[in-house]
Point group: D2
Chain length 259, copies 4
């Protein structure tokens, strides 16, 4: 499946500051970048660095005043279908150095807040079956609401509000999965059916020795997701982080299936 991505960002940095940009599709076995172009109005001295865990890339730059950036890419996705409920938990004590951080508490995801709730609500289910049940529970109980969260909202807060946006849905599933020893992280992705069109955040769980994409909002299908990057939670994979006061002027994301 070929996906076309077109995104445009416009910001203004008051004075001078640094920004970290993470909007480019990652290249890997399951998604091949056929064509891509990142364009800024004025030339910038980019410091291009890898993404967390070697997934994708990020860019640092110093900017002052207006910052406008366009990104276009064509990506071919060939991600094998998987039956989440059939996947088994990887034994905790066998986790590698790269996966171990993803069962730890992080900025927005505190597994300890779900130690009691998960067994009380989901009983003896485990592995992919449990992840599917937790994801369905979030989907069934939560309301998608932009006004329900902000940059300080944790998984625990969202669990109480039973409302939020994609990153909040993802944080709750991540915290719940870690609460039962299933490594979980956030993936930032492009996907065609996200309404309204925007950068999207989903979950990756580690089962049977590999990472598997899950979207508790139900908006995106793993077969159609273009991964940008991964991290412990939204603190790691924001598409734009600024040091200095920066205001958003305009932002568009357009993702289409073209073949």
């Amino acid at each position: 499946m070929r996906i076309s991505i077109q995104t445009h960002l416009q910001y203004v940095m008051h004075g001078n500051g640094s920004l970290l940009l993470q909007i480019e599709a990652a290249q890997d076995d399951t998604q091949v970048i056929v064509q891509s172009n990142l364009h800024t109005k004025q030339p910038l001295a980019w410091n291009v660095i890898g993404g967390e865990d070697g997934v994708g890339q990020r860019r640092w730059a110093e900017v002052g005043g207006n910052f406008a950036c366009s990104y276009h890419a064509l990506v071919d996705i060939d991600r094998p279908s998987m039956q989440l409920p059939s996947l088994k938990t990887s034994p905790i004590a066998a986790l590698s150095e790269n996966v171990t951080p993803y069962i730890m508490p992080s900025r927005y995801c505190h597994p300890e807040a779900f130690f009691a709730f998960v067994p009380a609500q989901f009983g003896d289910a485990s592995g992919g079956t449990l992840v599917q049940q937790m994801s369905d529970w979030i989907y069934d109980h939560f309301t998608y609401d932009n006004a329900a969260s902000n940059g300080a909202t944790t998984a625990t807060d969202s669990f109480h509000a039973m409302a939020g946006v994609c990153r909040d849905y993802a944080h709750v599933l991540i915290a719940m999965a870690r609460a039962v020893g299933i490594p979980a992280r956030m993936a930032s992705v492009y996907a065609p059916n996200v309404k309204p069109q925007d950068f999207h955040a989903v979950v990756e769980v580690y089962l049977e020795g590999a990472w598997h994409l899950v979207d508790p909002t139900g908006m995106a299908d793993p077969d159609q997701m273009v991964r940008i990057g991964v991290g412990r939670d939204a603190a790691d994979v924001s598409f734009m982080t600024s040091y200095g006061q920066m205001d958003l002027l305009a932002q568009t994301v357009d993702v289409q299936v073209i073949a």
Copy 2:
């Protein structure tokens, strides 16, 4: 300088569970392990993995019932003296992929809570001078008190309590440093003058392209610290993390300068 480390842990795991152990001295250019031995009563199928950022190592094992472990090491430290106040800030936009995570918020260290306080309190100081002033401020205002914190205590909480143990002191300095764009992480160390003798937590700040050890408790001197591991905060570098209910029976740490 040669340091002798002798530590002994005794726990009981109720039922079966997994534990992650991180108590061994790391090998690097500034500390050479002359001799070391890790001994457990019954043989365990250890899964030895690297520490965060390639510093030191950790061990996973499945255990049931009693778990006792002794670790002995002789380590030669040759860490060049440095004058912290003379060190300059590294430009944010020049940070590498490995250092970038350490300006982000983490489980216990929320820089955003210190965005207003740090400039209000420390004015225009920057780089190593600022780190020294912040470390001194913590040292001057905080009371070392075991009863003042627990596993949920964040840097923000400790800042209000102005009390805590080594990890709390470290969390506050880490959050303050990140608030002004200085990468900072926690290092778990052995040091001879820690009272009472125990695993110790200090801070590493990234200035002029390298990590530098700082101890806001004033108990340990960078020249005498044996690093075990590093991480974003205490969530990453606990000497012992258990999945399953495990109780402490006994624990001793003995660190001596022997030459």
Copy 3:
């Protein structure tokens, strides 16, 4: 039913400080104090003030050094039995000035954290039926555990831990009730079957124009409770609040049904 109460407190105040004591049975239509005696070793200049909402009384005193206090009372309880599930909600807009504060958020009880959960979990139930279902749900899911909470633990925290002591159980039910517009407050009581014997905290909900006692821990029966005082939450009805550093040396509570 006649209840005998015997309680003894021993504290030491470091330097001089003020304490607020609230341990005496309240006198009202449903509980008559047949005999009572409050005794302190050295004479104290008590400032005796009413309890919150005119229920019971409290005492301020300045003390220095050792403070020991004994309280004995015989109380006849004649509290009409009520069938909680049969009681209807009082319309919010008809609440009086004295009841209105008890639907507001307070220190430990944030109803907004339960706006989404209560309808999701309990559906269309209302009034006493809903209160009974929420109390049963807490009783069924929570573990009574002294180590699970401290002076900073909110209803929201306890809800996540699904564990705590009587005040935590009470806080959760209070927050849930307020979340659906049912006024709820904490009552501090003596009751004979509390294990271990101690001051006890329960809930009062306002239904059909009156306050009704409910104990989500299941340890105390409204027919056997001797009320001491009431408040928005534990911040208001602690049996002992000190301004100055005061340490507990010994404390016993003995409550018996004697007729």
Copy 4:
């Protein structure tokens, strides 16, 4: 001094719900209501109840659909000038039943978060001198910013942000005052120089046996404040609280000195 107050509110309640309105000037020795009129478009069955602590009044009503309300009043203020720094602390153990609640923690004001900070920052100052210093400190360090807070923001949060609106400034001063045993509460007022014109929140501290108005935002002078009501914090004295989903359409407040 004669003050003219003109306020207009327009809301829409989705479905039916209850609202609690607290916008009328309180009558007391220091402010005499010369003339007043509260007008709603459609007649409402108001349940008029007293304000907290007998200050002012509130109104409950059930409404559905559009709700518009106009309030006009002329108030003569004759509040004796006082020199805050000259006032002494009232001994804690002498506090009455009505004042005692105002040293306790409340929804938004947790004194315990300031136990360490206040003595560290303000040293040995006490009474009105200390209150003045704390109020000045807040005025000097804080930025007035609507975007810096929301309905969940506590005094502790605002202290970190060093930013907020009048209620946030007030919460911080209240929490700091209680931290050193000075009773403090929130007063909702009208005042002529508030920019932009709006309902205003200030602090009342209890010193030398009486309540005294203080405004840490510096916008209002006690001689020109018309008190509406008081409470432990903003949870008690909101000008409008709704049970049911209600949206703001328009709101104007106009306060003028007319003689």
